[in-house]
Point group: C2
Chain length 503, copies 2
């Protein structure tokens, strides 16, 4: 393993003289205000991360940074130790839900980095490396979605660090710093320095670069932060402009869609159950799901059931049967439709992060993030590049959930075209069901083959070991509902088997 000495080349003696600062700072502040408005106008979201030693006076520097900004366009997120809800979710969850909407700025006063270091400190060194990989994936995903990311590490020498610690101890300042005992590990300068170097090296990417800020002189630090930000935003804006010009040239037609080994292909849609068999099995399975809900709740295991399928394949009915014996305190059905304006303004996975189950709860998704590679792909609501990228993004997202202990069950309800037609016609005849059918359903039906190709590719690319799809033959509703419940019961039960094995 090679030597990391990046901090050795940092000249901590840097100062700026008063006159120069008074000349540079107002210019930069004005320019920053202008750039904030430009970024807003073109819809570029900006993430600014501040990290550094515990004695650098971060509050003051962050405040100097935000003062020239228009408060309508940014939000500061102070990050401390996670609360109970945040601890129960994947590591990155609480950061993902705070990403800015398009055209807005999120300033992180401490961030996922400080939390990753807190892990190292707790002896979870391997854990930290895993987290740094996840962080890089997270930042890459955002940058591909045109998020501009800049990261500042506020650095001081060991000598200065020690001097400041002593000064704080002898004054009242410490008490008033709205300080965080979580930062105490930064006090061990020699121990933390190599960890910080490793962190910066592993996460310094072209799409999310680090800037080390010499922070012994407050004015120098402020000037460096302001000029770097101005330069980065200018760069981001020009990159985005170039990309948008390219987009105009690209062909928006639906590409891709070569045939895959369809897991739908083998489905025997003739499978059925008699009413008696159905009633008997259904009742038992419903009670069992109810019991499992209790077990999962006691063990604080979160569960997600994803329902996807053709229109009229029976998603609503299957969900009703699934929830009949559940306790409403512990489950929620999440219907997923077109995103709202607010949701559109974020990364497409953002709205699903907001809906992840709390510990011990079950969230049932009636449609899901797979909309990206189904309806959004087929209807051209996102670019070819975007939906192609989504398979990997979704696999990483689901991997993170499973890693965090979530039971993740994905059901595809398969019917044939003939069955769909019958059901559409029934809905039109039955007054109590007419609201279930619209012009749009008929229009979508005409694109059956396009959707079919998208479904095949989805099943192929996102049937991972940790989160496989189950294709449920659904021409017969009885058979479909029973198999759906069986799938769910098995997945939940095997979670307990695994838990027992590992004990």
């Amino acid at each position: 393993m090679h030597q990391r000495k990046m901090f050795e080349h940092v000249d901590l003696g840097k100062r700026i003289d008063e006159k120069e600062y008074d000349k540079v700072a107002p210019e930069m502040k004005n320019r920053l205000g202008e750039l904030q408005r430009k970024a807003r106008d073109v819809g570029m979201p900006i993430i600014v991360v501040f990290e550094g030693w515990d004695t650098v006076g971060m509050g003051e520097l962050v405040n100097k940074f935000i003062l020239p900004l228009d408060p309508r366009g940014f939000l500061v997120h102070p990050i401390s130790a996670p609360n109970a809800e945040e601890s129960s979710k994947p590591f990155l969850w609480r950061f993902f839900v705070r990403i800015p909407a398009r055209g807005r700025i999120a300033v992180f006063d401490r961030s996922w980095y400080f939390r990753s270091l807190a892990r190292t400190e707790n002896g979870q060194k391997v854990g930290a490396r895993q987290v740094w990989r996840e962080i890089s994936e997270f930042e890459e995903m955002l940058s591909q979605d045109d998020y501009l990311i800049m990261k500042f590490f506020l650095h001081i020498s060991k000598k200065e660090h020690k001097r400041r610690l002593e000064k704080y101890h002898s004054s009242d300042l410490d008490r008033c710093a709205i300080s965080d005992p979580e930062l105490d590990f930064f006090k061990k300068y020699d121990k933390m320095l190599p960890a910080i170097e490793e962190m910066i090296e592993r996460t310094d990417r072209e799409y999310a670069p680090w800037t080390i800020v010499e922070a012994e002189d407050n004015k120098f630090a402020t000037a460096k932060i302001l000029t770097t930000t101005v330069r980065m935003i200018e760069y981001g804006l020009s990159k985005l402009e170039a990309k948008n010009l390219l987009m105009l040239d690209s062909n928006p037609l639906i590409k891709g869609g070569q045939m895959f080994n369809s897991t739908r292909g083998g489905a025997d849609l003739g499978k059925s159950l008699s009413q008696d068999e159905y009633r008997d099995k259904l009742k038992k399975l419903q009670c069992r799901v109810g019991e499992l809900q209790c077990e999962l709740n006691i063990n604080k295991i979160p569960s997600i059931v994803v329902f996807e399928g053709w229109d009229a394949a029976g998603k609503g009915g299957a969900i009703q049967r699934l929830t009949a014996e559940l306790n409403p305190r512990g489950y929620e059905v999440v219907p997923v439709g077109s995103p709202t304006l607010e949701e559109k303004a974020h990364h497409y996975l953002w709205r699903f992060y907001l809906k992840l189950p709390p510990a011990g709860h079950i969230r049932i998704f009636d449609r899901s993030w797979y909309g990206r590679v189904l309806v959004e792909r087929v209807e051209g609501l996102c670019s070819t590049e975007e939906w192609k990228r989504a398979y990997q993004e979704i696999n990483e997202f689901e991997g993170m959930l499973v890693e965090n202990g979530t039971v993740l069950i994905k059901i595809w309800l398969e019917i044939d075209q003939q069955t769909q037609l019958q059901r559409f016609q029934e809905r039109e005849k039955d007054r109590s069901k007419q609201w279930k059918i619209s012009e749009e359903d008929w229009r979508n039906r005409e694109k059956w083959d396009f959707y079919g190709r998208a479904v095949d590719e989805m099943l192929f690319r996102t049937s991972t070991n940790h989160a496989p799809w189950t294709v449920v033959e659904s021409n017969d509703k009885y058979y479909s509902r029973v198999k759906t419940l069986q799938t769910i019961v098995q997945a939940m039960e095997s979670k307990f088997l695994k838990a027992k094995d590992s004990k």
Copy 2:
């Protein structure tokens, strides 16, 4: 004090026979589905509250109630003990932020009522009565905003209650009920019965009636809940329809606006400060606000500073001076513009509930809930009835905040028409300030007199003892900023004086 015996007239022996249930229930479920869609179409929000003894099997009954509903249109809110954030906020805060948007249904599985009883149980009987008054005001305010509110109390006899408690103890059920130890006080039947009777009596209003549900027989209870809901929604829809017809007849012109004893009238706009005085005083005040932020943070006291004033009166500049020495971990500027679609779909105070400061934090509102009686009144964005009602609603809202320990400071920045004109012209000339001025500003200026009348009435009606307005003479920016900071410092300091006095 008169005898309360409402439960004596309840016949807990009520049962429904299987056949009748199988006939009634499906009809009611269908009808409920239809009514949900109608309520959605006309935008009527619905609140359903479930309360009752701890052994009534509420989870099952709530689940029976929601199964016929379209999951896209409702959300169940299970209510337990408040978490730390919720405890630090006013009692009703966590319920207010959960009110449904127009056309949606919020189902409360336990609610503010159970929390009010928990207070009685903790020996805070007087506290509970105060809370019931607040609850009635809360429900009345919502009902005036066309929210439909229905409340169910699930009742069983002492004998049955005892039998069920014994049954639970001897089985595994208790463990699996996702149960809440917070409910334990319900176990003391004799003690709680009169408290529940008092609660129901004090909060049973025409606009938010209670229904006592005989819940010993599950099917009877389900049938009664379904039929009551259907009847209530039908009634709510017809009332709303009648109201909308009336609205068409009413005159939408801006009414009211007789002159009030203007507190602006006496303002001496000639007041000013020299640059030297300004610099000297400003710096001291800024440091003092910084110190006070620390003190407030340590004492977990939340603060709100409301800035209102004419366009170009200097709100932005005053806010920048106020925050210059603050720690960004403990303050946030909340810019208030036109409400989003989501915000419009709720009661107008909802978006401000979402932005109340956490314990120890300062939230600075750049414009505020006073928009209701200023821009919304003058531009006709709400009805005359609505803005007239708002004075009292705002006074109650602010009373609740102050009662909860919040430091609430309200600043009106007053300038004259001539000064506004000068500043508008300067903005148009200065390239770096052009973005601050728009056509709309010029249009608003033409309505100076209308706004003036609205401002006078606002200052008159909402300058309460607990939350007075301070009119800051702002033709001179130096004077304005210093007086603003002085006002804030004094208000924060007097909070500590009061705290010391009461010790």
